[in-house]
Amino acid sequence: MNKLTNQSTGAVLFQYDLYPEKVEHIGKVQKVETNYGTFALKKTTMKKSEADWFINVMRRLERIGFPYVVPVLPNKYGDYTVTDGQFIYYLMPWYEDHQQFRNPVQPEDTLVEQVAKLHSLTEKTQDYAADSLDESSQLLKKRWDLRKLEIDKYVDEIEQHTYYSPFELTLLTHFERIKFMALQAEEQLELWLEKANEKKSSRSVLCHGRLKRSHACYDEYGTAYFLNFERAVLDTPARDLAMLFRHFFQSRPWDEVEGHHWLNLYEKHFAFFDEERHLFMSYLTFPENIYRMIDHYRQAGRTKSELQMVMQLERRVLTMNRIHRFMNVVFKDES
């Protein structure tokens, strides 16, 4: 049915009464220039139910008046998405993403502040259900235990070697520290559960789900407009912020002072509850990034060289240690 149902860009844009003059492919987005302006056409692999949820999220953001979002435009029939056999498309106005700003702003600061505003506008108190909290904590702990077990086994294996590869040697050097951080993550998780059960309430917010620099467009004044809400979920704010912080930690040099600054900035607009702060720290401290590197190293067809792997591992260990210092700074304030 390709000829009949697999829609070309022209057939998709017809549903918006737009006739492209120029189409440029930029990743998964097509920049479409027309008589009526420039648009971004996103091609996704969302399922119908995911697309329905995505549109529900976008309309909710519109209803609550959250302005820091690139809107999704309806087509001439009133649909916010266009489906063909395999893909779902949606159209947005084209927002130029500025790297230099007229005002002296830090893009990370803007992102943190706007996420806080998003969380604050969508905050919802959940009915207390001890079972549900226990269950989600157990699920996460189980997953972590499994990951730890896999890595422990691997480390046992490499310890049998007579000679270590540079990567193996680096891993063995830092392994006790990595284990310690995993333990810290578990402790923070237990503290979260204990405090949440004491408090007998929890809250959810609309989480963007994949926060990172490239999922926002900055105008010339440094205001960020979020896009790619395809993975948005109702969840604890700790999840979204931890994801954003992890992205910051990996994408630029930072230290615990800056980390603390970002957290303060977030809490200026949307203060974490004590238990949420523990959950946030628990997400951050678990060394999943390092575990993923080990997985990659063990893969038969890995693309990175030994040297690259060692350098990356060293960097991640450095980040892990910074996170530990960041955690100490945050909880020093509390004590």
Binding site: M1, N2, K3, L4, T5, A11, F14, Q15, Y77
Partner: protein, 307 residues
């Protein structure tokens, strides 16, 4: 009477002018067709039909263009008006027999809520005209009488086939297809233009399309149409028997006899007879091809089971 400013104030167009008063407008976003509705229920049914059809079949179609307020119709003096796209270029239907077959299967299976009860085929096919002999003075009397007797046999055969189907001949109604010229093309893709408002039983729509296919493009690639149809409307089960029963049923004869018994116009018999004779042949070819296709499909299934 519809005023242009009424359209301008409801739809997101800057420039609007009549191309044909009350029928077509030219806008900066292309030509649009107006459709006027006097029956609100019928209009709502068509809105639902087009939306569901686009979603289910996954093709472009002339759905109702929304107003700036998000409505699909605007009230006018005589009822309601809806606005639709107009596409000129034709889709090369004959180049895509398999795809068109699949499209037709999807078309007749559009999930839609019916306000009227579904059609019971066995009741509908009882036609008194088959039992009424032609007066001996009728032109082509002998051949018409021969046809009448054969039509009676076809009717019995069709009834027998329909009775063997568990679904009891019940089927939903869909918008009738007038011709394959409703298939238009946009940037290489099919755009289906809906025509008329008549709803017909789904299998009758399929039969009529198969006849149109043979009349327009010949019978050579009918197998491919069946293959495609089978993808979306599985023919190896009751659907196939139901379709066969409607193909065997002497629709063309019943239409002819019905016309003749109403008008008794001997002068036009010759012209009508030629059309009937052609349609009779077309039906025969389709039935033969379809029976052959069903037998081959059964053999294939049998072979697959053995292996």
């Amino acid at each position: 009477m519809i005023e242009l400013h009424h359209i301008e104030s409801h739809f997101p167009f800057q420039q609007v002018e009549w191309l044909e008063k009350n029928k077509f407008i030219n806008t900066e976003r292309g030509i649009k067709a107006l459709h006027l509705w006097t029956d609100e229920e019928q209009m709502k049914h068509h809105m639902q039909w087009r939306d569901r059809f686009a979603e289910h079949a996954g093709v472009l179609t002339d759905r109702m263009i929304q107003t700036v307020n998000g409505d699909k119709a605007i009230p006018i003096e005589a009822g309601w008006m809806t606005l639709h796209d107009v596409v000129d270029s034709s889709f090369p239907v004959s180049d895509y027999p398999e795809e068109m077959g699949q499209f037709l299967g999807n078309y007749v299976l559009v999930p839609i809520e019916e306000t009227d009860p579904p059609v019971n085929q066995s009741k509908e096919r009882i036609s008194a005209f088959i039992d009424v002999p032609f007066p001996s003075s009728t032109p082509r009397f002998r051949v018409l009488e021969k046809m009448r007797k054969e039509a009676r046999q076809r009717e019995k055969k069709a009834d027998g086939l329909a009775r063997s189907v568990e679904v009891d001949g019940q089927m939903q109604r869909v918008l009738a297809i007038e011709s394959f010229s409703q298939a238009k093309e946009i940037d290489g893709q099919l755009f289906w233009e809906n025509k008329g408002t008549e709803l017909k039983p789904s299998v009758d729509v399929l039969c009529s399309c198969l006849r149109k296919w043979v009349e327009n493009y010949g019978e050579d690639r009918l197998d491919l149409v069946f293959n495609g149809l089978n993808e979306s409307f599985p023919l190896k089960n009751e659907n196939g028997l139901l379709l066969l029963s409607r193909l065997v049923y002497p629709t063309e004869y019943v239409e002819f006899a019905s016309w003749f018994n109403k008008t008794r116009n001997d002068d036009e018999v010759e012209k009508r007879y030629v059309a009937l004779s052609n349609q009779w042949d077309v039906s025969k070819k389709i039935v033969a091809k379809f029976v052959h296709w069903l037998e081959e499909a059964k053999e294939k299934v049998h072979y697959e089971q053995i292996n």
